[in-house]
Symmetry: D2
Subunit: 464 residues, 4 copies
C-alpha cells in the first residue's frame, strides 16, 4: 500500500487516504499556529512521563532536547511541514522520531490527539486573552489621556441621535472606558474555565498508565485538572465563551467606530482624523475617508459569524470527540486576529482624534438641551414632575414656532405666563452650557465627578 | 388634538401619534413581564425620594401604598392595561396618578425611562438567573442519582460515533454534570455584571437633583452602582452575556438530547423512555417518538437566534439610548422560557430513562474496544507507543478478516506472531469488559474514580 | 388510563403524556395561525377522497360542510381550542368528528400530519409572499411619488459618509426603488419552490391508497406536485429561502431607516418627520425622536435571528420528519409580522418625510463635491486620469489651507499654475451644483435620466 | 512626504498612511483571487474607452496588450505583489503603468474602484455558481448511479429516527437528488441578479464621460446594466443571496453526512466506507472514523457564519459605498471553498458507499413497519381511519408484550379478535417487506415509481 506507513494510525488500514480527503481533512493550514503550544505541552508531558517512570529519564531528556531543537527550527522558519502528516502534532512527532530515533515514539504514551489538541488550544487562548487584555488596557490609557484633556469640553449628549442634554467629551470617552473594563472582566472570568488541564483524558476514557496529571498542570501553570475524561475531550465551552466575549467587545468597538465616523462628517464636524489614519478615493480627488473605522465596524459581522459558526458546529454532537470540532480553529484564530487588529486601529484613532471644541459647543447651544434641567427646576419649586415636563414641552413648542433653537430668549414674564412658579433664579437654567455642570452625582457628567472617575481609573490602570 | 394628552411627553407635540406607529412601537406585548420588577424598582425609588427630601414623606408613603395596591391588582389579574400608553412603565404611572392624584406625578422625579427600563431588566435577569441555576442543580441531582445506580454499568464509549473504549454509564452521565457546573459558573459570573444599579443615570447624563443612589442599590440588593450615566443607559452587555451563557447551555442540552434520541433508536437500543415522555404518530399506529427531546434539540436554533439577533441590534449604535434597544426584550424572554422549558423536559428524561444494561454490554464486547489497552500493555513491556499502536492495528485487521469483532479469540502463540513481547499476563487485556476498570486516574472511568467524583458532586450539591 | 383516548395516536400507549411534556410539545400557541390554510387544504383533500372513491360522496360532502362551519366558528372567534389536542390540526379533526360523527374520522385517510403541516405552511407562505410584495409595491409607489417631486432637488451624495459628489434626492430615492424591485423578484423566485403540493407523501413513504395528487394540486392552485415523499416531508428549504429573502429586505429597510435617522438629526437637518411619526421622552420635554425608524433598524436583528435560528434547527437532521421541524413556525411568523410592520412604518415615513431643500443644497456647496468632474474635465483635455486626480487633489489641499470649502474661488491663472490644460471653459466645472446634471448616462443622476427611470418604474408599477 | 506618491489618491494628503492602518485596511490577502476577473473587466473597459473615443485606439490596444501580459505573469506566478498598493486593482494598474507608460494611467478613466470591485465580484460569483452547479450535477450523477443499483434494496424509513415504514434505498437517495435540484435552481435564480453590469456607476453618481455601458455588458456576457448608480455601488444583495443559497446547500450536505455517519456506526451497520475515505486514531489502533463527513457536517457552521457575518456587515449602512463592504470577500471566498470541498467529499462518499443490504432488510423486519399499511387495509374495508389507527395501535401493544417485533405471528382469529373486518386477504399486509411496493403513487417508494423518477432524472441530467 502506497504511503501506508506515513500515518500514525495506518496499522488496520489497507488503502491509503484518498488525496481529496487528505487535503479536505488536513488542518495544517490553521493549526500551525498551535506550534509553540504543542511543543510547550509536549515538553511538560515528557518530563512527567520521565518522572513517573513511564519512560526512562534519558528518554525524557532526549525527547525534551529534541522538542527544543524543533522549536528553534520553527522559530527560524526552518521547520519542514509535511502536508501528508495531517496536522501539526503529527508533524512534530515525526520530526522528533527522525531526530532522536525510536524514543521519540514514546512521547505519545498515555496521550491522544484528543486531549493534546484541547490542551494546545487552551494554552493558545490563555496567551491571547492576556494579549487582548493588554491591548484593552492600552486603549483605556488613551481614553483616559484624552478624557483628562476634555473635562470641560462640552458636547451635545444624544439619545435617538437627537440632541438631548449637554455632556462633556470626557464623560463620553469614559463611557467606553467602562465598556472596556467589562470586556476585561469578562475575559478574566472566561480564563477561569480555560485554566483547566485536560491531559490524561486520553482519547475519551483516561489512560491505564499511572500518569501524574497534577504535575503537568503545575508545570504548565494551570489552576486545576479536568474532572471527567469524556467531558474533557468533548468540551469547547471555553472557546465559545471566549468568542462570545470577543463579540461583545467588537460590538463596543463598532459603536465607537460609528460615533467617530459620525463626528468626522462634514455635518457633525466634531472631530478630525489625521491623514495618516484615513485613505482617499481612486476617483474623487478631494476625499479623505475614515476607512479603518469603517472596517472595524464591518468586521464586527465577521466576529459574530465566528461565534455563531462554532455554536452551530457544536450543536447536537454526541459525546465524545467528533472531527467536527476541528472547525473550532478557523473561527477562533480569525476572531482573535480581527479583534487585535481592530483594537490597534481604534487605539490609534482615540489617540490621534483632533477635537473641534467650537463645533461641539455650537451643538450644545442649539436644540433645547436645557429643557430637562428647567423641568427639574420646577420640580424643586414643588411642581409634580409630569406637570413640569408638560409645561416645558409647551415652552419648547412655542420657541420652535418663533424660530428659536434654545430657551434663553424668553423673558421672565413670558415664562411666568407658562407657569407661575418661575422666579428670578431661573436664569442660569436657561443656559444650556450650564447644564452639564449641574449633574453632580456619581456617574453624572459634572467636571468634578468626571475628574473623580478619571483618577480612580488611572489608579486602577496603574496596577498593571 | 385627539388623544394629545395621553402621552407623558406630548407637551411639544402638535399631532397625535399615527395608529400604525402606535402599534408598531408599543412594547406592551412583551414588557408586561417586567411588571413586578417595575413596581419593585419604583418603590425603592420613591422611598429614596422621600428620605432625600425630594418629595415629602407623605407623598412617598402614598406612592408606595399606591404601587403596592397596583401590584395586587396585577397579581389578581385586575390591572387594566391601556395600549395607548406605550409601555408598562407608563401604564403603572398613569394608574398611580389615577389612584393617588397629582402626587403620583412625582414618582418620575429624577428618573427617565432609560434608566428605569435597564433597572427593571436587570432585576428580571437576576431573578431568572437564580431560577435557571435552580433548574440546573435539579438536573444535576437527577444525573447524580442515575450515575450512582450505574457505576458498574458498562457501555461503549464513542469517538466519531464509532465505538472507541468502554466507559461506564455513570461516567457518561457525569460528563453532563460537569457541563452543567460550568453553565452555573458562567451564569454566576454574568450575575456580577447584572448586579449594578443604574438608577440616577437619568436619560443619559445623570440628574441635577440630589438623589441617593447607594440607598436605592442597597434596598434592591445590588452590589454596586453604575459609574457612567451615558454607559449605564446604553449598556446591554449583561443581556448579551446572559444570552451567550444560555446558548452554550442549550448546546449542552442539544448534545444530551441527541444522545438519548440515538440511544432509544431500535439500532442502539441502550435506553427506553416511558410512554409519558413520548408521543405517537397521527398516521403510523406503532410509533413512539422522543418528541420532547427533538424539540429541545430543535429549540437550540431558537436560542442561538436570540443571541445573534440582539448582537445585531446592538451593533454600531451611537451612544446613548436608541429605541433599537427595545428589541432586547423579545429575544431575552423567548430564550429564558425556551431554556427553562427545555431544562424541565431534560430533567424528566434523565430521571425516567430506563437503561438496558444488556444491550450496552453487548456493544462493549464487539468493536475491538480493548485495542488501546492492549497497546498500552505493550508500552509497559517497553515497546514504543507508535510501534505498539501499529502492531495492534494489524492484529485488528487480521481479526476483522476472520470475521471476529474482538480480540479475545487469539491464542498467545498467534499474538506472539505479531509481537514477541506478548506474555502470559496479556489475557485480561483481551477482555474489553475489563478496560473501563483500568482507567484508574482522576477523571478516568474506573468505578472507584467515578464513585469519588459522585461523592464530591453530591457534597457540592448539598450546599444549596 | 386517564385521558388515554384524547390523543389520535394513543392506541399503543399505556400512559398518558406528562403534563410538562404536553405543554412543552404543544404548538397551539403559534400554529393557530395555520387555521384557515388547514381548512382550505382539508377541503381539497376531502373532495379528492370523494371523487377518488376512497370515501363516499356523501361523506366528502359532510366533511366539507363540517369544515366550512368550523371555519365560520373560527372567524367568529367561537372555535373552542383544546390544549390537550396538541395542535391545530387535531383540534379541527376532533371538532369535525364531534360535528359530523364517525365520518369525520375518514378525513385523515391517506394523509399524515407530516404532509399536512408542510402543505399548510406552503399555503401560508404563499399568502404572505403576496402580502409582502403588495406592501413593497406600495412603498415603491411612495418612493416614486416623492422622487417625481425631487428630480431637481440637489443633495450631497456620500461615500464613507463623507460628501462625495452631488446627486439628486430623486436619484437617491430611486436607489431604494431598485432594492425593493430585487426583493420582489427574489420573493417571486422563492414562490416557485413554495408552489409544490406535498399531500400524498404520507408520513414519509407515500400511501397505498389510490389518491389523485394532481387534482388536489389543481384545486389549491399549486404549480406542481412533490417528486419524492421522503424529501417532501423533510423539506423546509422554502421557509429558509423565504427567511433569507426577508433578511435581505430588512437589511434594505435598515439602511433607509439609518439614512432618515441621520437626515433628521440637527446636524444633517435634511429632512423632518411629522409629529405623528415620532415619539417623545418621558424625561426631556424638548425631544422628538424618530423611534419607529430606530425600531425598524433594531428589528433587523430579530429577522436575522429568525433566519439563523431555523438554519441551525435544520442542520444535520436525518431524514425524514423530525419534531425539531416544528420550530419552523416561531421564526417564520415572527419574521413575517416584523417585516410587514416595518414596511408599513417605512412607507408612512417615505410618504410624510418633509425635505429641506436649502439644507441639502448647502451640503452640496461645501466639501469639494465638484472635484471629480474637474478631474474628468482635464481627462477630456488629454491629461491621463491618474495625473488629473493628483492635480485636483493638490488643488483641494491648497483650498483647504485657505479655509475654502469648494473650488469656486480659484482664478483661472491660479488654476493654470496647477495645470496648463485648464482653459476658459473650466468655469462651470468649478460649480458643484452643476455636477449632478452632467452625469447623463444610464443609471446616472442627471434629471433627464432620473425622469426616464421614474417613468419606466411608474409603468412597471401600474401593471399591478 | 515619505511614500506619498505610492497611493493613487495621495494628492490631497500630507501624511503617509500609518503602517498599522496600512496593514489593517489592505485587502491583498483575499482580493488576489479577483485577479483574473479584474483583468477581464479592465480589458472590456479599455476596449470601450477606445471605441468611444475617450482614449485613442492605440492607447486602448497598448492597455489591452499590457493587461494580457500581466495576466500571463500572474498565471506563471511571476506577478510582483506590492503590499503598499492596498489592493489587487491598484497593483494591476501600477504594473500596467510601469509596463506601458502614462497611457496606463488612462485605464481608470470613467471608472472608480467602487464600480470596479463590484464588477469583479460579480464575475467571480458567476464563475463560482457555474462551478458549484457542475459539482452538484456530478453528485446527482453518483446518486442516480447508486439509486439505479438499489431500486429493490429495502431499508427502514425513519421519522424521529424511529423506524416508521419501509422504503427503498433508491428512494432515500433520490430525496437528496431533489434537494440538489432545488439548490441548482436557487443558484440559477441568484444568477439573474448577479448578471447585471455595474460599470459606469463611477464612485456613486455615474460619470460625465460618454461611456458605452451596453457595449461593456455585452463583451462581458452580462444580461443587463444596473439602473441606478447609487444602488449599483452599494449593492451586495447578490453576494448575500448566494451565501444564503450556499447555506441551504450545506444544510443538505450536513443531513446526508449525518445519515452516512449513522449508517456506518456499529449499531446501524447499513453501510461501510472504504479505508481511503476514513481516518484512524493516534491512540486507538482499531478505529476507522468517517472524518471527512464529520468535517462536512462541522463546516456547515462555518458557512452559516459567513452568511450571518455579511448580513451583519451590511446592516444599517448609509448609501452609498462604505469601506465596511470590503468585508464581503472573506466570507464569500471562505464559503465558496468550503462548499466546493464538501461537495467533492460527499460525492466521493456517495460513489464509494458500500451498502449492506442484509442489515437494512433486518431493520425492515423488526419495528412494526407494516402497521400503517394494515390500518389502510382496514380503511379499505370501510373502517374510519381514526378507528383503524386505534385498532392497530392496540395490536402493536399486544405484540410488544409478547416480545414480538412485528405483526406476522398473529393468526387471523387473533386479528379478528381486534377487529371483525380482518379477512383472509390480510396476510400480505402482515409482511413488512411488502409495504414499500404498495406505495405506487407519484413520489412514493414503489420500485416502478422510483424507476420512473430515476429515468426522468437521468434524462434531465443528460441535458448538461
Amino acid at each position: 500500500m502506497k504511503g501506508k506507513n506515513s500515518k500514525p494510525w495506518s496499522g488496520r488500514f489497507e488503502q491509503s487516504t484518498d488525496p481529496v480527503v487528505e487535503s479536505f481533512t488536513s488542518s495544517l493550514g490553521f493549526d500551525e499556529r498551535l506550534f509553540p503550544y504543542d511543543i510547550q505541552g509536549s515538553i511538560a508531558h515528557a518530563r512527567m512521563l520521565g518522572s513517573s517512570g513511564l519512560i526512562t529519564n534519558e528518554e525524557a531528556e532526549a525527547i525534551i532536547n529534541g522538542l527544543e531543537e524543533i522549536r528553534e527550527e520553527w522559530e527560524m522558519g526552518r521547520f519542514p511541514l509535511d502536508e501528508s502528516l495531517e496536522d501539526i502534532h503529527m508533524n512534530i512527532e515525526a520530526r522528533l522520531i527522525k531526530k532522536i530515533g525510536p524514543a521519540g515514539g514514546k512521547l505519545h504514551t498515555a496521550r491522544s490527539r484528543n486531549d493534546q489538541v484541547t490542551l494546545d488550544l487552551r494554552l493558545c487562548i490563555r496567551y491571547e486573552i492576556y494579549e487582548i487584555i493588554r491591548k484593552l488596557r492600552s486603549a483605556q490609557g488613551k481614553l483616559l489621556a484624552s478624557a483628562r484633556n476634555h473635562i470641560h469640553t462640552l458636547m451635545p449628549g444624544y439619545t435617538h441621535l437627537q440632541r438631548a442634554q449637554p455632556v462633556t467629551f470626557a464623560h463620553h470617552l469614559m463611557a467606553y472606558f467602562e465598556m472596556f473594563s467589562r470586556d476585561i472582566q469578562r475575559l478574566e472570568d472566561c480564563l477561569r474555565r480555560v485554566q483547566v488541564m485536560p491531559l490524561g483524558s486520553g482519547a475519551l476514557s483516561g489512560t491505564c498508565l499511572p500518569v501524574d496529571r497534577e504535575a503537568v498542570a503545575e508545570e504548565l501553570g494551570f489552576d486545576s485538572i479536568s474532572s471527567n475524561s469524556l467531558d474533557a475531550v468533548s468540551d469547547r465551552d471555553y472557546a465559545l465563551e471566549f468568542l462570545a466575549g470577543l463579540s461583545i467587545l467588537m460590538m463596543h468597538l463598532s459603536r465607537l467606530a460609528e460615533e467617530i465616523i459620525l463626528w468626522t462628517t462634514a455635518e457633525f464636524g466634531f472631530c478630525e482624523l489625521p491623514d495618516s489614519l484615513c485613505t482617499g478615493s481612486s476617483l474623487m480627488p478631494q476625499k479623505k475617508n475614515p476607512d479603518p473605522l469603517e472596517l472595524v465596524r464591518g468586521k464586527t459581522g465577521r466576529v459574530y459569524g465566528c461565534l455563531i459558526g462554532l455554536l452551530v458546529t457544536m450543536k447536537a454532537l454526541p459525546l465524545s470527540y467528533n472531527r467536527d470540532m476541528q472547525e473550532d480553529k478557523g473561527p477562533l484564530f480569525d476572531a482573535i486576529d480581527t479583534v487585535k487588529g481592530s483594537l490597534s486601529v481604534i487605539t490609534l484613532c482615540i489617540e490621534n482624534l483632533k477635537v473641534k471644541e467650537d463645533r461641539m459647543l455650537q451643538g450644545v447651544m442649539h436644540g433645547f438641551l436645557e429643557a430637562t434641567d428647567l423641568a427639574e427646576y420646577l420640580v424643586q419649586k414643588g411642581v409634580p414632575f409630569r406637570d413640569a415636563h408638560n409645561i416645558i414641552g409647551r415652552l419648547v413648542l412655542d420657541a420652535t414656532k418663533r424660530g428659536w433653537t434654545n430657551l434663553s430668549s424668553f423673558s421672565l414674564d413670558e415664562l411666568k405666563g407658562f407657569c407661575s412658579h418661575f422666579g428670578n433664579d431661573v436664569m442660569p437654567y436657561l443656559r444650556p452650557e450650564k447644564a452639564a455642570y449641574r449633574k453632580n452625582i456619581q456617574g453624572g457628567t459634572s467636571p468634578s465627578r468626571i475628574e473623580e472617575a478619571i483618577k480612580k481609573a488611572e489608579k486602577d490602570l496603574r496596577k498593571y
